[in-house]
Point group: C2
Chain length 371, copies 2
């Protein structure tokens, strides 16, 4: 059985346990959900219906692409349903022979659409909650299976090679501007067989590194000149993204800059060492908050996050009270402590880490380059 | 009064007419809404509340960025509300002194969140419909005002210059691969003061041009070699995107390829000539459908769409029955007829057009380059 089929069967079992007849997934402009790629291989713009009895139906916009990329038992073009998700849902229920029962909608279904589903299918009940099938898919996706771990093995190595090439290029003075280094990455990844970058590369030279997420993400401004520069990027291989941040520190640092660099290195090191199955990710984030607080610093963003088919996915790795994630083998998370000062600039260090049975495996090897 | 203030006042008037106390806008990961930039200048990650009495409150994630970019009377950091939209909504109602009344939520508010709002503010009524304030903002944004027309004047000229430079580069053999031409654009736009590309540039060489939206959007494959290649890109200037498609046809064409190129040119020409205020955009799309149908072709996508702060926004320009948009002065739309064949490849030609009082103004000057 292929990985997609295995995942769909697991979802069907979950539907059975919850007394649900069918779950619906939607991946469309404004409501992106790569769970459809996770369950079928189809990389975008489609609906997917999975029934408790284990049947599934993919409804893609672009049938040619789906025939090339998706692995599913049944497929019908979206045009057959007037390109309308409500009509497609009714059609899937009919095709599956489900005359009644509870249907689980994506948790991001807009309120007005929810009403449309209810009105269009009066014989069925609809559920739309934050702990439904969307959450089941999120939880499944958080624990990477054998196929995904193989992808991350290859992807991490490409990402590490990219960082080595970038460090060399910076030291040799090959990259003058934020654009130079960002476009080097775009070219590099495609030559290595990656699909795209995982998000807009953030290349922030000393004049812009004070921002958490510099806007625009990269410009014609100088990069890696005197001061502190941040480079945050991810590469996508077979749908999965890496996410690393390097910092480049050039010239003599102020005392405060030195302190910031040391604190970020220390936080990065101690946070990674704290990773193990059974550990609450919130506790690791609190550990870093404390390291910074002791010296009077506050980190204006979360410590990390899961990665996978999305750049931000489960498990959460932050100190907010609503984070109740417990790390488990197969989780792949980032650890990205950073400190920012409107005058001194910013420094961040981010790596991708796999939680293992006994602890952790460092997938990438980022660095703060001082030169 | 600055443009943002004027737009907020117009929204407040609309709230008054509809008997609404307050409207809420949200721009967050997974629920992007550049209406916040339209009403305040803040380029992302914020909530915006506008009351019928004309008050407004911006709640940004990144206060430093908002202080640099937003023009609003009142601003409070999202942290003040525990980074929770429901708490921020309750806080805005309190700050505006609104003890009761009807609150309009974004039309894409997920069903479970709608329930949270209702439960958190029992003294208020909540509305979430497809024809509420989100629609009002969409309709306002469809008609570009003086500030926006000035931006498009500059942006169209940069886009035209980029196309000239690309055509020269192709003719001179400077671009060998899809990546070469896509990264040329990324560099060019930043040198000209643009923020970013408006969407992932699609550079599809002869081996991949049969797809409507090639996946991945550009690769290390050859571009503009023997056969038909498509280049679809947009540049973002001060938040607004252009959207053009060039095609490159190299070598001797098959009879079918020749017919496809001629049909696309004819459709592009006649569709643009049909643009005028008072014309239903659906009728223009039907005109093109007919041109193609006469020769036995079907276009697998809509004829065009509005552009602005988003690459796809109102007005719609397609032949689907639910399109009831009537063109009006100030609308900026794309016209992008295209034909695709799994064996012969694809050809598409797209320009940006402003609807004027008397007809139209062609903003960009794309082309099918035969060489």
């Amino acid at each position: 059985m292929d990985a997609y089929n295995k995942r769909r069967k697991q979802m069907a079992e979950s539907l059975n346990k919850q007394g649900l007849a069918m779950a619906m997934f939607e991946d469309t402009e404004g409501r992106r959900d790569p769970s459809i790629r996770y369950f079928s291989g189809q990389p975008g713009d489609a609906l997917l219906f999975i029934s408790a009895s284990g049947r599934s139906l993919l409804v893609p916009w672009d049938v040619n692409m789906a025939q090339a990329m998706a692995k599913v038992e049944e497929m019908l073009p979206y045009g057959d349903f007037g390109r309308n998700p409500v009509m497609a849902c009714a059609g899937a229920l009919e095709r599956f022979g489900l005359k009644s029962g509870l249907v689980d909608l994506p948790s991001i279904t807009p309120y007005p659409m929810y009403i449309d589903y209810v009105e269009a299918c009066p014989d069925h009940d609809f559920r739309c909650t934050t702990d439904g099938s969307s959450k089941t898919a999120e939880t499944m996706r958080a624990v990477k299976d054998a196929e995904e771990l193989a992808i991350y093995g290859k992807l991490s190595s490409i990402t590490d090679d990219a960082m080595d090439a970038i460090e060399s290029g910076i030291r040799e003075g090959k990259f003058k501007t934020e654009t130079d280094v960002a476009l080097f990455i775009e070219r590099y990844l495609r030559e290595k067989g990656c699909e795209s970058s995982g998000f807009d590369t953030i290349a922030a030279g000393p004049s812009r590194s004070f921002g958490i997420h510099a806007f625009p993400s990269y410009t014609a401004a100088h990069f890696a000149t005197e001061g502190m520069s941040i480079l945050d990027f991810g590469l996508v291989y077979k749908g999965y993204t890496s996410d690393v941040t390097m910092s480049f520190i050039k010239g003599r640092l102020s005392q405060k800059q030195q302190e910031m660099v040391e604190l970020v290195r220390k936080a990065h090191n101690l946070a990674i060492k704290a990773i193990a199955p059974g550990v609450k990710s919130r506790d690791i984030a609190l550990l870093v908050d404390n390291i910074f607080a002791e010296k009077g610093y506050v980190m204006p963003h979360g410590l990390g996050h899961g990665i996978g088919l999305e750049a931000h996915e489960a498990p959460a790795v932050r100190s907010r009270e609503d984070n109740d994630w417990v790390l488990a083998p197969g989780h792949i998370i980032t650890i990205e402590p950073g400190l920012y000062d409107p005058k001194e600039g910013g420094v961040r260090l981010e790596d991708d880490i796999l939680v293992t049975e006994n602890g952790y495996e460092l997938l990438t090897h980022s660095r703060i380059v001082e030169f």
